[in-house]
């Protein structure tokens, strides 16, 4: 009984430390954006201010990098959702042996380090006379984000009753109509979810983007550069805004998902 009690206390302690480890960095980072100190910190507290948010808002370079990231993310979504869906449909139409080989090939970008994807894309396209920039960022990011879309669509397809397709065909629908009216509507939730995931993955990507960015400065590169060359709490203010936006987005998505499921 005593041993159990000690064990229990130790476990609760572990949970507390774990939670602190998880959240203290984010809280401190967020809090630092309200501190008047030149360098982002919470100790010592030199007075509460919202000046850093104003500074962030007025930073034209930040807006430029945000615009680049959004542009990239939109292009990525336009590529990865159709290609990932096609990959899932092709894969599920293959026979067992061909399928496991194709599967290994198709998930290989997930097992490739992000920097290698960036490097190999850069090398190939420079050979063809295309340098780093938005185009290459989109292409390099899409290479592995397609895998996520494919996996999410495949998971959804597993619950699909394919006799629905046959039923539609038997009722005289063309194969295109079967896809448009039966298969695609069934996949819709997975497509929306994977588009959301793709935006997130694209905007937060750093390792791959770094090599193919050329003269562009997407948001992650912008922040990383600031950290090295002149970190002020304005970067924290930006971080806090991004964090709040992603958390709200994630919660909204989760609520929408549960409401649909119910």
């Amino acid at each position: 009984m005593r041993a159990d009690r000690i064990f229990h206390v130790m476990f609760v302690l572990y949970l507390v430390v774990f939670a602190a480890y998880l959240f203290a960095p984010l809280i401190i980072m967020g809090a630092a954006s309200f501190n008047e100190s030149r360098f982002p910190t919470v100790i010592p507290w030199q007075g509460t201010t919202t000046d850093w948010f104003r500074a962030m808002w007025a930073d034209a370079a930040m807006w430029q990098s945000l615009w680049t990231s959004v542009l990239v993310a939109v292009c990525v979504v336009l590529i990865v959702v159709p290609v990932g869906t096609a990959a899932a449909l092709v894969l599920t139409s293959l026979h067992a042996r061909a399928r496991s080989f194709a599967y290994a090939v198709m998930v290989s970008p997930l097992l490739t380090p992000g920097v290698v994807i960036g490097i190999s894309t850069l090398i190939l396209w420079r050979q063809m006379g295309v340098g780093g920039g938005v185009f290459l960022i989109v292409l390099a990011q899409s290479t592995f984000i397609i895998c996520y879309v494919m996996l999410m669509v495949m998971a959804r397809l597993q619950r699909f009753d394919r006799t629905q397709e046959e039923a539609a065909l038997g009722l005289g629908a063309s194969r295109t109509m079967v896809f448009r009216r039966v298969t695609l509507p069934f996949l819709r939730p997975a497509l929306i979810a994977s588009a959301g995931l793709a935006v997130l993955q694209s905007i937060e990507n750093y390792n791959t983007t770094l090599f193919v960015r050329g003269f562009e400065t997407p948001l992650t590169v912008f922040i990383a550069t600031k950290v090295r060359t002149g970190l002020t709490p304005a970067v924290n203010a930006l971080a806090l805004v991004i964090i709040v936006a992603t958390v709200i987005g994630a919660i909204a998505y989760e609520i929408a998902r549960r409401r649909r499921a119910a």
Binding site: V42, L122, Y206
Partner: protein
Amino acid sequence: MGDLKNRFGPGLSTIFLILVLFWLAVMVLAPNLMMIDYALRPNLPPAALGGPDDTYSLSNILYLAGEPTHRAIFFKTIWASGLVAAVTFLVCYPIAFWMAQRATTGQLAIALMLIIIPFFINEVLRTLAWFIILAYRGPLNAVLMNIGLIDAPIRWQGNGGVLAAMVYAYILFMLLPIYNAIESLEKAQIEAARDLGASPWRIHTRVVIPHAKAGIATGFVFTFMLAAGSYVAPALLGSPGSRWFTEIIYNWFFEGGDWNRGAAYALVLLVLCLAVVLITLRLFRVNLTDVAK
């Protein structure tokens, strides 16, 4: 393929196949082949391209073997990535077990949400957070000095800082596979083991961990791979003495100006990661299908 055409007709199937082939050929295969080509050629001025010196050789890869600093950094990256994976496992295992076997539905929902939220946030921001905490005059040193654990501030940047931030960044990739694996273990098995007089240590080593080994292997593979290929944490939190292999690769490309050597180094990193993935999967008899979930 016949099945695809049967399902969606010739028009749509052709579009699907073109999309997939474009992806695999132009975005996956061709870049890697070109990278290998680069890695095996010498770095020549444009005028000498195609000339007598433009021959295939392993010299770029051998250069890595012969350069003591780079070689040391390469091996250090391997063992440090292994260390990151091991520490991440130790941090995650108890909570994964608790979530999978002990937590009520309500607790589980809250725990999952709390764990997932930080991972919606960008890796650069998470690293920035650690940058602030670990700063020389930052909160961690202040707290430790206040409670009297240390007398003077510690310079965390370097190996310690990189380890802390990497473990932090990859918790989810370790936790979810282990959680999924342990979750499929029947509660009755643990009860039976306890009933038979097994100690908690024995229950974990003989019942839970063997059952969860596929999940653990998956977690290891992903954490190792992400750590070995990470650039942002070592770049922001490292010190000159804690250089990471990816930083050397970056330098070849954007500071050293020798893309061929950079490509060779990237190729070595790729082969290393694939080897670790395949060996781990073979060792734990895990199928690739179970990994990518």
